[in-house]
Structures are given as C-alpha cells and as structure tokens.
Amino acid sequence: MTVIVTDQGFQPDDWTQGYTPLYEAANDVPALDIPSQADPDTVPLSPGLAMIRVDFPSFADGRGFTIARQLRLRGYRGRLRASGHVISDQYAMARRAGFDEVEISDDLAARQPEADWRARASWQAHDYQARLRG
C-alpha cells in the first residue's frame, strides 16, 4: 500500500482509474506512468489526460523534477504525482517543480512520519525561484 502526501499531510489514494505505462500509451488515456528516463518533450498530452505519475527509482535521481517542470511548461494542467523514493526533504522541491502530490510506500511513511512532511508544507515561503521569475 501507499500513502499520498499533500500540503495537508497524509491521505489515502483517491485515484482509482489505474495508469497506462508511457510506452504503451494509446491516444487518449486518463493516466500515464512515466519512468525517470522519459523525455518530457515526447510525452503525449492528450485532452483527456487527468493524471501523470512520475517515478523516482531513487531519491538521488533528480530527473523527475525536470520532467515535471517541462510538462508544466508544455501546458499540462492535470494532476502530477511524484512516486517512489522521494524523501520529506524533497517535498518542497517537488511542489516547486510542478508536482501536486507525492506517493510513498507505507514503509517510508513509517520511517518519515507525517510531521516530517508537514514541516515542508510551506513550500511557497523562502523561494528564490518565485522571487526571480515573478
């Protein structure tokens, strides 16, 4: 099982429509699963797409942050979820890069409890990027 982290803290997963792996995607799917080596320029952004889940195989693999930013810059406005080995110290980075939420395992949630994540929920504060980009 997994836990979904948002600015409000931990909550159960409310996404019930499953995911289609990126490389098996038909034209119009509601949700895509994207690996960390994906090229964000070639991800099909069809009108019906409501959820994209980007995999973090390791917290040390920061490609997902750039993938998220590029998908947002390409105009994607649906839900964007970081999933896998993301640690609470990265929560603000994930939100600032364009993710809405983070999906973590129960094991990780036990080791890094909700308080650790909520401590990073005020990600809009102290943000150099917001200051420089306007």
């Binding site: 810059l73 890069a97 420089l132 980009r133």
Partner: protein, 554 residues
C-alpha cells in the same frame, strides 16, 4: 559588497533550522546514512579521512572584514585554530564535530555566510575573477551577475539531485583569472553593439577526463542569463549519464553528444523556458549592482611610497611580485601569499585571518577576496598604504613575495586529509617551495605555475599547471606523474604527460632538473616557462627529466 536582504536572511535561518533538524533526525535514525549524505553534502558537510569537513562558501570570492573575522572565530571555536582556502573560493574546516555544525552555520549566518551547495551533485558555489571590480582589464564587474546566479541556483528545485556536481565561473576581464574554460559552465562578459552579454562556454572540467570548455553561445544578452543557464541545466539533468559516476559530468555529455547537439537542445529548451521568466530578475539586478559599486577612492601623497620602494629591497620585491595594476590611479591590487615557503598552501591561522581583516578594514575599503590560487587579495589599496600593509603582513608570516612564482603552488589537501587521495600533495608542495627558496632562484625563474593533485580527481588543477604533478598509488607506493604545458588562463590548454612517474624522493630533484633545463633553454629572461615550452615542445624537457633514457637513445 552584497548585503543580505531580509529575504536572504530569513531563507538562511530557515535553511539552517532545517539542517539542524536533519542532523537530529539522522542521530534519531529517521534518516538513513544514505539519505543523510546528500543532505549534509548540499549543506557543505563532508566525511573525510579523519573527521567531518565543513566547506564554507565565499560567494564569488568576495568578503568583508566582519566576515573574515567570523571565519577566524569558527577556526578557533570549533576547529584547530586554522582554515584552508580552496581552489573554488571556499574555506574548509577539517575538524568539526557533527553536533557542532548547526551552531557553526548559525554563526556564519550572522555575517551573511553559509555552506550551501559547496558539495553534492548540485550547482556549486559560483566563482568569479578575484580581481573583479578592481582589474584594469575589465569590461564590467562580474559579481552582480554571480550574485544573481547564487540566488537562482540556491535551493533550485530541479537541480539539487543532478547526476554530478556542477560548477559555474564568471569573469568580466579579457585575462581569465577564473579558469572559466575548466568549468561546467564558463561565462565571460562581453560587449557587442553597445549591449552587455555573455560568451557562454560549456563542458570544461578537469578530473580524470580533462576537457576545455566549448562555446555554446557566442553572445547571450544579459537579460537571458538565468533562463539560458536553466536551459543548459535542464538538458544536462535529463541527458547526462547516471550509469557511471566517472562519465556523469556535463563535459562527457558534451563530448559524447557533440556541442552542436547540446547547442540545439539547449536553444530549444531555452525557447520554452524563457517566457517563464517575467523579467523581475532584471529589475533586481541594478539594486544588486549598486552594492558592488566602486568605492570612493582617495588621493594621497605617494612620495612616501616612492621613497620606501627605493630604500627597502624586501618591500620593493614584494610590491613587484605581489601587486597588480588597479583601474584607479595610484591604487594597486595586493595579493597576500598564503604560500610561505614550507607552509601548507592555502592555510591561514585565525590570527592571520584577523590581521588580514584588520588591514582590509583600515586600508582597503573593507574588502577581501579569495583567489582560486589559494591566496587572499586586498583589491583596493592606495599605494601610500602599501608600506604599512607590508610591515603588518611581515609580522605575521604573510609577506612572502612569491605570487605567480614557483613556490606559489596550488595543492589539494591530498592524503593528509582527503578520503579519495592516493598520495600526499601538501608535503610535495612544501618541499618544492623550500628547495627553491634554498636555491634563491625563484625570482630569476619568473612566472611558473606548479599545481599538485593527490589523486586523479584533479582538485589541485594539475592538468592546467605549467608543471602539473599528479600523485598516484602504485602498489602501495606514492608515484608522481608530471604533466607539462598546461595553462589555466584565456589561452587554456591541458598539460602533456611527460613520461613515467617519480617516487616521493625523486620528484623534487626531477622538478629541479626541469627548471634548470628551462633556464638553459629560454631565449631571454622574459620568456616564461610556458612560452619556452610552447616554442620547443616536450622533447628537451623530457630529456632533462629522464637523463638516463636520453643517453640511451643517443
């Protein structure tokens, strides 16, 4: 000097509080050592051979006397009374305790200093020409742009977990004192059609695969700086290799994909990113630049200086060797050598730091710089104050007149401190300096840059030393390889390996043979070692290094 805004201060306070909590969570076990490692690294904390090491950033190498005094305080209170200035304009403390580090960071924050992103796979402390704002050959002061880059790169959400570290250097001068061609990104301020912009180089670096940076954009308008940097980083973050640590730097990405591909991808990404910058960064820039305004220079009688210069040969030698032309009349740029013969290159005691801070405060418009050559600079000194400064420096072992000479050696910490090192660097530097001091020929030799690395990672920049020394481990025995003809400036080149390495006992005599060969070979005293090498090539120097082999060949 840039003064922290309320935003900078509260950011830093928050960041330090986060790190304090991370240290506590590590001790409590909520963070694994694997997870803690990148977090401590992005806050400047390494685990070295004997202890933790805290690397503190001196952004673009600029600091004021209060900051220098605080560096002295840290050295005394939490270390062994000294600090080590590095080739990337940082200072390293080699003996802090993990539990003390949050307090050290808070003490740094009191004077607007930090250790953020001085390590880890992220954008590192941005470096700049150490003569910025003072040099006679400058188009514009690069530090306002460097400060803008500091703000942009600090805690940048996309680039805290890159494939590898990423280093940016900026210069505003035609003479490159910032080694921009050996950085992941090198920026040179240029003017074109009345417009200020940058020549952008990418993919330079030393390490085990040394590369000279390539031009990715000939002219980048200054307003496009941040989005263009972001485009390069964005391309690198996704395209850079993550399968092999030794092939993960952008120099390999550029090498394997070709500069044309990197340029095309960067421009495409730039077109998408550019609109996400509204231009407010450019609105901030004049305010930042104003804080780096040229100090109001004084005019004073220089007769005393002229008399002292004529009367005191020691002072004269120091002035000739350790000062550089300043843009203002009767001003000089003073380099304080941290390379006293036999001392550890780049080390300064707390007391020496305070002496330099006092001199900066009293005589040098309160400014100091740290050079990548591991010396300290007083950038704005009126010549009438040089004698007093020299006298004070002499009392504290800081008046060595050897800037740019054979004993002004860059050396990495090597096996005395570093967990990666395969050989000692510091003792080799000390022995070379001591030997040439005994011979009393270093002023005759003239400009000669020796750079020493204690392992293949090349922190001592050996590839770009006129004479480079690389310490390796050959079956448990230290072995020193020599490279010749490297150059760290605007005419950058990677040195050529001269031949088989030398033992620790053989390396000093080998350098001596090499230098005497140069003295014999040069056309006149004005021809530097590097010029002679470029004129003659490797062979005559090789014969000097390996006399037995030369005889056998004949």
């Amino acid at each position: 000097m840039y003064n922290y805004t309320e935003f900078d201060k509260s950011f830093l306070a928050e960041r330090n509080a986060q790190f304090r909590a991370q240290v506590e969570r590590r001790i409590a076990g909520a963070l694994t050592e694997d997870e803690f490692k990148p977090l401590r690294l992005m806050n400047g904390l390494y685990l070295q051979l004997h202890a933790y090491m805290l690397r503190v950033a001196i952004p673009y190498g600029t600091l004021n006397s209060a900051q220098m005094r605080q560096l002295a305080l840290l050295a005394e209170k939490w270390d062994k009374g000294y600090g080590h200035f590095t080739t990337r304009q940082n200072i390293q403390y080699n003996w802090p305790k993990l539990r003390d580090v949050p307090d050290m960071l808070d003490a740094l924050a009191e004077v607007g200093l930090h250790a953020i992103q001085t390590s880890g796979n992220t954008i590192r402390n941005v470096t700049a020409d150490h003569f910025a704002g003072a040099a006679a050959d400058e188009i514009a002061d690069p530090r306002p742009y460097a400060e803008l880059i500091r703000q942009w790169s600090t805690d940048h959400p996309e680039f805290q977990f890159l494939g590898r570290k990423f280093k940016i250097a900026v210069t505003g001068a035609s003479e490159d004192r910032a080694v921009i061609k050996a950085h992941d990104i090198g920026l040179q301020l240029v003017r074109q059609n009345e417009q200020t912009g940058f020549r952008v180089l990418v993919g330079g670096g030393l390490g085990r695969t040394p590369m000279i940076g390539k031009v990715v954009r000939d002219f980048l308008p200054e307003a496009d700086l941040l989005p263009y940097l972001e485009a390069i980083l964005s391309v690198y973050n996704l395209l850079g290799r993550r399968d092999n640590k030794y092939k993960a730097r952008i120099k390999i990405t550029v090498h394997e994909n070709g500069i044309e591909t990197i340029r095309a991808l960067t421009e495409e990404r730039f077109a998408r990113i550019r609109p996400s910058f509204s231009g407010v960064d450019q609105d901030l820039l004049p305010g930042i630049a104003a804080q780096f305004a040229t100090p109001s220079f004084k005019s004073a009688d220089t007769a005393g200086f002229t008399a002292a210069y004529a009367a005191d040969p020691v002072f004269q030698s120091w002035v000739d060797t350790n000062t550089a032309p300043h843009k203002a009349e009767d001003y000089a740029i003073v380099s304080i050598s941290l390379k006293a013969h036999g001392a550890t290159p780049g080390d300064a005691t707390a007391q020496q730091m305070r002496v330099m801070a006092d001199l900066a405060h009293r005589y040098a418009h309160d400014e100091l710089r740290i050079s990548h050559e591991q010396n300290v600079i007083l950038p704005h000194v009126h010549t009438s104050d040089l004698a007093a400064i020299h006298a004070a420096l002499r009392d504290h072992g800081l008046a060595t007149a050897n800037i740019g000479l054979i004993s002004d050696i860059i050396a990495c910490p090597g096996m005395d401190y570093c967990a990666l090192a395969t050989a000692r660097s510091i003792p080799i530097a000390q022995e070379i300096a001591t030997r040439f001091e005994e011979l009393q020929i270093e002023h005759d030799i003239g400009q000669l840059k020796i750079k020493i690395s204690g392992c293949i990672n090349a922190c001592g920049h050996h590839h770009v030393g006129h004479i480079g020394i690389l310490g390796l481990d050959r079956a448990g025995v230290e072995n020193y390889q020599i490279t010749l003809g490297g150059d760290a400036t605007e005419t950058a080149s990677i040195g050529e390996r001269a031949g088989p390495g030398f033992s620790a006992d053989e390396i000093i005599p080998a350098i001596e043979r090499l230098v005497y060969a140069y003295l014999d070979l040069r056309e006149n005293p004005e021809e530097t070692f590097l010029q002679a090498y470029r004129r003659l090539g490797l062979d005559p120097f090789k014969s000097a290094l390996y006399p037995a082999a030369a005889v056998a060949a004949e």
